[in-house]
Structures are given as C-alpha cells and as structure tokens.
C-alpha cells in the first residue's frame, strides 16, 4: 500500500506492507534507527515517537494509519546542530548508560512536558482541578511507560526536572 509519511518535516512517499508497524517502517525503510525496538509489544517505550506532538508507541501503530500525520523522532528533536535542551540535559545528568531506551525517554519526555503544560493531571496529582506541579513524583509517574534496564531513572528524572523548569 502507498502512503505519504511525514517524518521530521521530510516527506516520504513509500510503499508498505499492511502488517508493517510504524517502528519497522522508520527503522527498516527510512533508516531512522533512532526509534528503538525493545519489545515490539507496547511494553517498554523504547519505540516512543511523537505523532502530531503526542507520544505514541510506534511498535503499536500500523504505518498505513499514519498518512497525513506529522511524526517526530529523536532525530528531529535537535534544532540543526543545537541539541534540544532535554538532549543536553540527558548528557549533563548522565541520564543513560547503554543509550538504548534513550530516544524513547527523550521523545516521551518532550510529549510528557507538553501534556503537563496543557494541564493534564496524572494519577498522582493531588488536586485534579488545579494546575499540576512538576515535582519528582509527577515526573516518575508520567515517565513510567519507558523502561530503562540500566537503571538511569534517578538521572532521567533530574534531567527532565531541570529542562521542565
């Protein structure tokens, strides 16, 4: 099937298998290997990308449903040669070790901060009618869809906390 994929503002007219996931299309067809495959079942978050600004697990999205959507991957976060503040923060706080969960953590935190700015509450928000406050508990809760087996969580939370302020 033919689709028009818009990734990091580049247009990609491509032909895909109807069974193909967005993750596999990005990695195997477009050579955008920043999005990682950790489980292929929506259980780890390594494949997280932004679709129209919202975080999505690309292993659970079929590419044929992505026509006309704007997709942002980790490769598209930086502003030219200037890393996104979260990317810089991750380096500064050593918020990764092997780096395999990192693209997903980064896309997820960009999406999460946008959700936060839009006033979305989480399960740990004490008062869902008030604007949530970006404390460590909120960050931890909202980032728990992204596993890190290297155990960089405390540094990830510190990096996001700094960037989110």
């Amino acid at each position: 099937m033919d689709v028009q994929l818009s990734v990091n503002q580049d247009q990609h007219p491509i032909t895909v298998d109807t069974r193909e996931t967005l993750l596999d299309t990005l990695r195997e067809q477009l050579d955008l290997t920043g999005a990682k495959k950790g489980c292929d079942h929506g259980q780890c978050g390594a494949c997280t990308v932004l679709v129209d600004g919202r975080r999505v697990k690309s292993c659970l999205a079929l590419t044929v449903t992505m026509d006309d959507r704007e997709i942002t991957t980790v490769e598209g976060l930086a502003d030219g040669d200037t890393p996104h503040p979260l990317q810089a923060g991750f380096i500064e706080h050593d918020a990764f070790q092997c780096g395999y969960c990192t693209p997903g953590q980064l896309c997820s935190s960009v999406g999460m901060l946008a959700e936060f700015a839009a006033g979305w509450p989480s399960v740990v928000t004490p008062d869902v009618s008030a604007a949530p406050h970006l404390d460590e508990g909120e960050i931890r809760e909202r980032m728990s869809g992204n596993l890190c087996r290297c155990g960089a969580y405390v540094n990830i939370v510190a990096a996001i906390g700094q960037a989110g302020r």
């Binding site: 298998d17 069974r19 193909e20 596999d24 990695r27 195997e28 050579d31 955008l32 290997t33 920043g34 999005a35 990682k36 495959k37 950790g38 489980c39 292929d40 079942h41 259980q43 780890c44 390594a46 991957t73 980790v74 490769e75 976060l77 930086a78 890393p83 990317q87 991750f90 380096i91 500064e92 050593d94 990764f96 070790q97 092997c98 780096g99 395999y100 969960c101 990192t102 693209p103 980064l106 460590e136 960050i139 931890r140 809760e141 980032m143 728990s144 869809g145 992204n146 596993l147 890190c148 087996r149 290297c150 155990g151 960089a152 969580y153 405390v154 540094n155 990830i156 939370v157």
Partner: protein, 696 residues
C-alpha cells in the same frame, strides 16, 4: 603499581558518545543494512523434551517472499565443538521448550515472521522434568563452579561447631530464575564474502565471539570480523555468542545473502541465558556476643541437560566473615530447562541475599545492631585462603553509610513504626565483588597533528568504558581527552577480554596504559619528531597479569534501605536506598555513580518484582515479556544514592581500580528484605517480596 596520574582520571567527564546516543545516531547491531539483505525469524521448540520428526519446509516455501526454511533435516553441518548450545540444527533432539529448532528466511521481516508462525513441526514428545528441588535425586557435585572456583570448601569442624554454638541460625532461602532483559534484544546482521564473515552483533566481547564462531564454520578466526560499537545493555547475557548468532551466520551462508536476525523479547526468555533459581541453606553458629564460630552455606541450582553452568553462589561466603569452622558447597541438577548463564554478579548476587539475610537474623538472635555485628566479624585476612587482602574497607563503608543514612539510635523492634497506612523499617546488608583482570592487547598511535588514536577490542555496553579509557589514555599520554580517540567494539582491533566480571576497566585500562607508556617513551626518544605516518606502539598484558602477586582482591560495600509496607495491600515500596562502596580509585565519578545506582536499581527490582515462573506442565518460563516479567519502572525508584570511600590500593593495576559494574546489585535485595522484616516482623526468605507473602 598505581602509576596513572590523576588529572583527567578522577574527573566527571561526560560520556564521549553521549551526543550520538541522544540524537539517535549511535548505531546498534540490527541497525546495519548491507546491500541485498534478507530477514531471518527463528522458530522455537514447542515441547520440552523429545525429538523433531519432521518439518514441513515445502509448505512455507510457497508463501510470498520466503527464501528458505532451515532445520536439522536440511541444515549445513557445523564443525563439532564442546558447546552443545551452539550446535544449532545439528540434531533432532529437543533439550528444552523454546530451543531454536528452525529458521525461516524471507525478503521482508513481515514475510519471514508470518512464515515462521505457520511452519509445521512434528514432534515425538517425551516426559520432561523441569522442577528444581534441593532433594532432587539427580543432584550432583559439579567439578568446579563458574568460572573456575572449587565446588566445595571446608575448614575446621563446622558440624561440631554448629552443634555446640550458643546461638544458631539455620534457615533456607530461595531466589527465583531471573532474566537479564537488556533493553536492546540480542541481534546480529551476518554477511559472508566468500569464506570471510562479518557480524554486526550485540555483544559484550567482539574478540570472544570471533574466536567461538570461526571454528564452527571451519574458518580461521582472522576470517571473522565482529563489529559492535554500541550495545544496548547485556548484564551478562551478551557475554558469549548465543545460538542466534550461529543461526544468522548459517542462514546467511545457506541463502548466499546477508541476513538480519533479532531475537524477540519473548524468545529471550529461552535462548539468551538467565540467572539460575537457587535454594540455599545457611547455618551460622555464634557466641552470645555475635562472634561467628561456624558458617555453612549450601546451594542447590539447575542447568540444562546439554550444558553445565554451575553458578558460584556460595563463593562470597568464603571471604566475608571470620569464623574458624566453615563449609561452602554447590550441588547442581540437569533439567529439561533452558541453559542458565551469567546475570549481573552471578553467584555473589543470590549468594549474598542468603548470607546477608542470615546475618540479619543472627543480629536479632544476639540482640546486636546489624552494622555492629558485621564489624565484629571482620576478618584480618582472607578467612579461607589466609592470603592478605589487597585492601578491604567494608567497615569504613558500614560506618560511613550508617552516618549518612541516619542509622544511629535505630530501634531494633520490628513492626512498630507507622506512617499513615505504612509500616516503616530500615535494613542493612554488606556487598562484595571479586577483582578480576584478564590479558588484553592495545595499540596507541600518535598523529602529526598532535592527536592520538587508541585501539582495543573492548566493549561499551553502557558502562562508560569508552569514556574512562579516553581519560586513562589522556593522562598516560600527557594530553587532554579531546585529543584522544578511543576505538573499541570491533574484533579487528587488538584482542581484548570481554565486558564481564566487572573487569573491563582493569583489563583494558592496563593494556591501554602500557601501550600509551610505550608510545610516550618512543616519542620522548625522538624528541617529539614524528614521521609523516605518525608512530604506533602496542602492548600485550599477558605476562604482566600472569606475574601478579597472589592476594585476596575484592571490592566491598554497604547497602542501607528504608521501606514502607502498606498495611492494607501488603505492597512494599523502597523509600530510600543508600550504597557506600570501596572499589579502589574511581576514574569517572559521573559514570561510576550511574553504574552503582544502576546496579542498586536492578537489586531493588530483584527484591520486589523479578521472577521467572516455570510452567511445570509445558516446561518453560510462563511470563515471557515485560508486561508479565516486571522490572523496576521509573515510579518504583525514589530516593537512591551511591557514594564511595577513598581507597588507595597499590596491588591492583596501573589505575588503582576495582570493578564497579556488578557490586551495586550485590546485597541490595537483602537490605530490602531486612528492612521489610524491621517494618513488619515478617521474614521473607524467598524472593521476590510479593505482597501475598506479607498478607497473613
């Protein structure tokens, strides 16, 4: 012997490949695309024991895109080796459920996956035996335990000493099978060019994979090149080639095209190793003042029917505490289960859960503070070998940890501290890990522009190896890290030991220092006047390491945990975790802290969540994905900190380092379990600490 000056070593340099990793440019194994590639999807056995009668190859060849289906019946023969796990498709026998028995190769991943799902296999199943129990009739005494320790040790007369001891702790502990689950699933891209094989592999040791794979295909090691610049974690499971590597190479040769193969998360629960479950009996005899008179630690474990992997579960007990009478043993049973292997601190990790839980029970029995009990049993020299310790600062870790954690004035009474719905408790445990160092080679090259390149087939699986080797080289070369390029992760580079046993920095660093020293000497002789092609020196540390003095070399640490147990649900949360370590000189405080904390986080995960459940009926692990096998998530990890004490040990290596990759996970689970006892009065001797074990 410590010769490296601290200028850049000791400083918190950012990871040198940091930018590549945060921008998505760092390429991992599966992210290589040789021209004309095809996809391979392996098929797993659906029985736990028996024979494959037939595989319907022809039917799947009808499917679109399918190029080949390979199994025992049509597979090329490999050169026989003593590694039965790697003899893929060489026999009709099925040794465990989930074993790879066939592979389908197709033009696209979707086509290969579909055909693999449809491949019809006919079996002759036999009864299987997959249940580990200490009284299994086939328990035996292996010749040695991993990697090369004596199976049993005995000193004095422990049986009599236990009988007459005024205080006795006699308890059985158990730890479940656990799976490493690095975030990057194992993967290989294999490409043949005539008799030369290139593997882009996710491995902890490129040199080792080359040396193991080459003979199986009857080619010299020089014909095999293994490339793995970035590895998405391993934790032991990528220590040597697993069957998938051989399948990828075999399939690529069979179809005459490059093959990509990624192990799925589900498959990883059968084919890439795991931590053996253990059953451990610990007996401690002591005087009323807590001084140990006898220590006996017996471990029971499993391995597969085709490979003996005997974990060294009780070896830490051989060095931890003084006692005149002592015994440690290991017994193994071969079951129809997948082959267990290394998982972060194999041996020390489950072994210290048992020993350090028992020490807590002894502290309570003697009414002595658990920190003080450990200090009271501190040995002057290695309690079994009698060798002096190169350095041992467990006591300093315990004291510093107690001070920082606020341990003083702790009320030992269990089950009395409430905060809302929570029962609160604190616990302590010691940790330890041996200091290993293996021979490696390295080269150092000076370029005319003042820059240097250092080459060694080391691996950075997230440890920060590339970064610390850059720092070590810079100091030895009397330059700054930005002038040094360290090339690793390629078997074409000078051969190196693997990233395992927490020995990377010690092994590779020694080779790097020696190569850089030789280069500096050469440059000094020429007064800095370089030929156009630059200048290169090399080093091989085989002799140096072989000649090292016999000493007992170990890192030590102390872990402190505070937990809250919900009185309504029984859920345990770790509120605070503090680790204090004595591990020689720290080359990079930033990456070292991450290593310690990463280990402690995995230890927390082990304490509360991790458990692979054997399905006795079908004979394999039941929970085969990250939704069912729980690893700690962000919300599970609250306040966690790692510190270290200064340790100047001249008997280690030119950098003065001990390994730090594994010690962080050792003792964590015991500290948590001890804290849970302090909180609730319930002693959990069987990990993980699930809520059903606390609700009574």
């Amino acid at each position: 012997m410590t010769t490296v000056d601290m200028r850049y070593t000791g400083s918190a340099l950012d990871r040198v490949e940091g930018l590549e990793k945060v921008t998505g440019r760092a390429r991992y194994a599966f992210e290589n695309f040789p021209a004309d590639l095809v996809y391979a999807v392996p098929v797993q056995a659906a029985i736990a024991r028996g024979e494959i009668r037939a595989v319907d190859v022809d039917a799947v060849l009808e499917h679109p895109g399918v190029i080949a289906a390979i199994w025992y019946g049509n597979a090329p023969r490999l050169v026989p080796s003593d590694n039965a796990d790697l003899a893929v498709f060489q026999s009709r026998r099925v040794a465990y459920r989930g074993q790879y028995i066939a592979v389908v190769v197709a033009e696209t991943y979707e086509e290969a996956k579909e055909a693999a799902r449809l491949l019809r296999v006919e079996y002759a199943a036999e009864d299987h035996d997959v249940r580990l129990r200490a009284d299994h009739p086939n328990m035996y005494r292996p010749e040695k335990v991993n990697p090369n320790y004596p199976t049993d040790t005995e000193h004095g007369d422990p049986d009599t000493a236990l009988t007459v001891a005024p205080v006795l702790v006699d308890a059985t502990y158990s730890t479940p099978a656990e799976h490493n689950n690095p975030m990057e699933p194992h993967a290989t891209v294999a490409e043949w060019d005539g008799d030369a094989l290139t593997l882009y592999d996710s491995t902890q040791g490129a040199s080792g994979v080359r040396d193991t794979v080459a003979p199986l295909f009857g080619v010299p090691p020089a014909n095999v090149r293994v490339i793995s610049p970035h590895v998405g974690g391993g934790f032991g499971s990528k220590g040597g080639p697993s069957p998938y590597v051989i399948i990828a190479a075999l399939a690529a040769r069979h179809v005459g095209r490059p093959v990509k193969l990624a192990v799925t998360r589900q498959q990883m629960f059968a084919v890439t190793g795991y931590r053996t479950p253990t059953i451990q009996r610990v007996r401690l005899g002591a005087n009323a003042d807590g001084r140990l008179t006898a220590i006996v630690h017996d471990a029971f474990e499993q391995s597969s029917t085709i490979t003996e992997f005997a974990e060294q579960t009780t070896t830490p007990t051989r060095i931890m505490y003084a006692a005149p009478h002592r015994r440690t043993t290991h017994r193994l049973v071969r079951l129809d289960v997948p082959t267990p292997s290394w998982m972060r601190a194999p041996g020390e990790c489950p072994g210290m859960f048992a020993l350090e839980s028992a020490m807590d029970e002894l502290a309570i029995a003697c009414q002595i503070d658990p920190v003080e009990l450990r200090i009271r049993n501190e040995p002057d020299a290695d309690p079994e070998s009698g060798l002096p310790f190169s350095s041992r600062n467990l006591v300093a870790c315990l004291r510093e940890g107690a001070r920082r954690f606020g341990w003083a004035d702790r009320d030992p009474a269990p089950g009395v501290r409430r905060r809302d719905r929570l029962l609160i408790g604190t616990g302590v445990a010691a940790s330890t890990y041996p200091v290993y160092r293996r021979p490696s080679q390295a080269t150092a090259q000076a370029h005319r522009d003042g820059r240097f390149t250092v080459r060694i087939a080391a691996a950075d699986i997230g440890t920060g190896a590339r970064t610390v080797l850059t720092q070590i080289a810079a100091d030895t070369l009397r330059t700054s890290p930005d002038q040094v390029l360290v090339e690793i992760g390629d078997s074409a580079l000078p051969a190196a030991s693997l990233a395992g046993g927490s020995m990377g920095t010690a092994s590779w660093g020694t080779a790097v220092v020696r190569a850089c020293e030789a280069l500096v000497e050469g440059l000094d002789r020429r007064d800095g006047d370089l030929p156009a092609a630059g200048m290169e020196s090399s080093a091989d540390t085989t002799e140096e390491i072989g000649a090292q003095r016999r000493l007992s070399r170990h890192a030590f640490g102390a872990q402190f945990a505070e937990v809250g147990v919900d009185t309504d649900t029984g859920e345990t949360r770790v509120l605070r975790l503090l680790g204090v370590f004595a591990a020689g000189r720290i080359i990079n405080p930033k990456t070292a802290r991450s290593q310690f904390i990463g280990g402690m986080t995995m230890g927390l995960s082990m304490a509360l969540f991790e458990e692979s459940i054997m399905d006795l009926e079908f004979g394999d692990y039941l929970n085969r994905d990250l939704a069912q096998y729980h690893v700690a998530a962000c919300a599970d990890v609250r306040d966690i900190e790692a510190l270290w004490v200064e340790e100047d040990d001249p008997h280690l290596n030119p950098m003065g380092t001990k390994g730090i990759g594994e010690i962080g996970i050792v003792g964590t689970a015991a500290a948590v379990a001890n804290a849970v006892h302090h909180a609730t009065g319930v002693r959990i001797r069987d990990l993980p600490i699930r809520l059903d074990k606390l609700m009574r």
